[in-house]
């Protein structure tokens, strides 16, 4: 009998064709899916051609997913050229999963598009040329971000050498209060362990509060493990996971659970009922404070969008706060995907579509799904910070210059807190506004 394994270890053991692995082992794992986008895809393809030859074929076209999402609604010519490179590569290689710009298949932000397209499945190994690929750990799989060179290696061989990470386990007992969202929970954890607190490690999230979260909220939690330096995030599989995945793919999958007696590097327990609306101050995701402690911070803008804060539930949460109110600062809303964009019209609160609620509140809503100003982007990007703005945002990073100008200051918070703050013009605990 081999030693009991964690979920992460079990997935990597299977992908390495071994009966067991232990933290620190270097193993060759087989990829189930490789995702790339318009920012890193062209470089990855360039390396693939240089190294494997101009007539080389990818290891398995059905396992490659191409999702242009970063620089789409811009007049930048190189940005358009980069999407053309993805398009030509998909045609040449017969890759069926291209979510192409300007077609009905276009989706938007890759980490939300992957699950929508049925590409995230329990027990699998997902590599992506984007650090927030860890989002998909919410689906009980091993998902991690890699660079272009590693991705080119995977394109050619389907394999990658990985070091098995030890697991840090975060258990949340009890139920979250109604004014606390997944974003508050993960900002709290990052504040505890710091921006390098999980470097080279897996982060498992467990407990009643986690298993009560919707898939989208679980994605918010796993999305930000990279902000603690984590290699991957992971959550057990339950009926919520299975129902979501089965509704989007017919591919079979094998879920994993921790073996009894599996070993964790650390296990931290939290009382979910005690969590409060949490904010990360400039310029680091671990610069934690409670929203109510920052009531004197005056804002010049608010932003709701991205893979972590621009999903349907994020907009529903924001709309709950904004319904019947007016924003006091410029408030930019960008759906992460076209499905989310559609939902802004279809989802209603008390019979009123979200889009109308936002427009009534005075928000500026883009219906063009993409990464937009989450990472600044080309100068003409919607919502980009181009001066000394003080912005509260549902995104995941607030390093200097992340949303554009180095002069900007970005506070990270939940959709509730961002919406409540947009209404008052200063950082506001949503309890002040809700009800």
């Amino acid at each position: 009998m081999s030693a009991p394994m964690t979920m992460t270890e079990k997935i990597l053991a299977r992908a390495a064709g071994r009966s067991a692995v232990a933290p620190g082992d270097n193993v060759w794992v087989t990829a189930d899916v490789l995702m790339t986008h318009d920012v890193c895809g062209p470089g990855t393809i360039g390396i693939f051609r240089r190294e494997f030859g101009s007539t080389a074929r990818v290891w398995d076209p059905d396992r490659v997913v191409l999702i242009p999402d970063h620089y789409i609604f811009t007049s930048d010519e190189k940005a358009h050229r980069n999407v053309d490179i993805l398009r030509a590569f998909a045609a040449e290689q017969g890759i069926p999963h291209l979510y192409d710009v300007g077609t009905p298949r276009y989706k938007g932000v890759c980490h939300v598009a992957l699950p929508e397209g049925g590409h995230t499945r329990p027990g699998e190994v997902l590599f992506g040329t984007d650090s927030h690929t860890c989002t998909a750990g919410a689906f009980n799989e091993f998902a991690t971000g890699i660079g272009n060179t590693d991705a080119a290696f995977v394109l050619g061989t389907g394999k990658l050498l990985l070091k098995v990470p030890p697991t840090m386990r975060f258990v949340f007992d009890g139920e979250l209060p109604p004014y606390v969202l997944a974003k508050d929970l993960i900002l709290h954890v990052i504040g505890d362990i710091g921006v390098d607190g999980a470097t080279y490690r897996a982060m498992e999230f467990a407990g009643e509060a986690i298993m009560r979260l919707s898939m989208e909220e679980r994605m918010t939690v796993c999305n930000m493990v990279i902000e603690a330096g984590g290699k991957n995030g992971i959550i057990a599989c339950d009926e919520t996971t299975r129902a979501f995945v089965r509704a989007r793919t017919r591919k079979p999958f094998t879920e994993v659970a921790n073996d009894p007696g599996a070993r964790f590097l650390v296990e931290r327990r939290y009382d979910a009922r005690a969590l409060e609306p949490t904010v990360a101050k400039p310029h680091s995701p671990d610069n934690r404070a409670l929203a109510r402690e920052l009531a004197d911070v005056r804002l010049t803008r608010a932003y709701i969008g991205s893979c972590t804060g621009g999903k349907v539930t994020d907009f529903v949460s924001a709309a709950r706060v904004l319904k019947g109110r007016r924003v006091a600062v410029a408030t930019f809303l960008v759906p992460s995907t076209t499905d989310v964009s559609r939902a802004l019209r279809l989802e209603t609160i008390d019979g009123r579509p979200l889009l109308d609620i936002f427009r009534d509140a005075g928000c500026q809503v883009s219906l063009d799904a993409s990464c937009a100003a989450c990472l600044g982007g080309p100068r003409d990007t919607f919502g980009r910070i181009n001066g000394p703005e003080v912005c509260i945002s549902t995104t995941n990073r607030n390093f200097p210059g992340r949303m554009g100008s180095k002069e900007g200051q970005v506070y990270l918070a939940s959709p509730y807190t961002v919406a409540a703050s947009a209404v008052t013009g200063r950082i506001t605990d949503p309890r002040e506004v809700l009800q």
């Binding site: 890193c40 030859g53 890699i146 660079g147 290696f153 080279y200 330096g229 990073r397 200097p400």
Partner: protein, 185 residues
């Protein structure tokens, strides 16, 4: 035998990939030679600098006078963009010596062979000033400051050393028979 000498550029903790290469330049594709050079000219363009601090790449130039970056904890945190080590390497830097690295940045340094990412067991940013001449000796695992005469210890590169020396993941994989044949280029 592997020694790198040159001037150092000193940074603090948590220098993230947006500071190393701001997102507005990610439309540049590193495998296209002129865009590779352009990436180099923007290396550390996102760094907030105090008045009087010199830029990493001087105004109007495309390469850096600093061969070695000295930094604190968690260098290269944030995005997985390989443009980050590439920008530093394309600018002419040869190594980053830091207390610790973010995982993906470290891996990208090794995979591309662009830069030596060298860790130190102790904090070293106070022992150097931007512009100091230094000698990085990868065999002896020391970084010597020619101004002060003091040398700091480095953690050995371990498995990563031969991969970078070979020129990155692919060259190493061929050399060691992990993948067959030579590239078509």
């Amino acid at each position: 035998m592997t020694a790198i000498s040159g001037r150092v550029y000193v940074l603090g903790d948590n220098v993230d990939t947006d500071q190393i290469i701001p997102a507005e330049y990610l439309n540049l594709v590193p495998t296209i030679p002129e865009e590779y050079r352009k990436l180099g000219s923007y290396a550390l363009a996102g760094l907030p600098r105090a008045a009087g601090e010199p830029p990493f790449v001087p105004e109007g130039e495309t390469t850096t006078p600093y061969a070695i970056v000295v930094a604190g904890r968690n260098f290269g945190c944030g995005s997985s963009r390989e443009h980050a080590p590439i920008a530093l390497g394309a600018a002419g830097a040869k190594a980053v010596v830091a207390e610790s690295f973010a995982r993906i940045f470290f891996r990208n340094c090794v995979a591309t062979g662009e830069l030596y990412p060298v860790e130190t067991p102790e904090r070293i940013v106070e022992a150097f000033r931007t512009g100091d001449e230094a000698i990085l000796d990868l065999d002896a695992s020391t970084l010597a400051n020619c101004r002060t005469g003091a040398a700091v210890a480095l953690r050995p590169l371990g498995d990563a050393g031969p991969v970078i020396a070979a020129g990155g993941l692919f060259s190493y994989a061929r050399k060691t028979g992990m993948i067959p044949g030579a590239g078509a280029a």
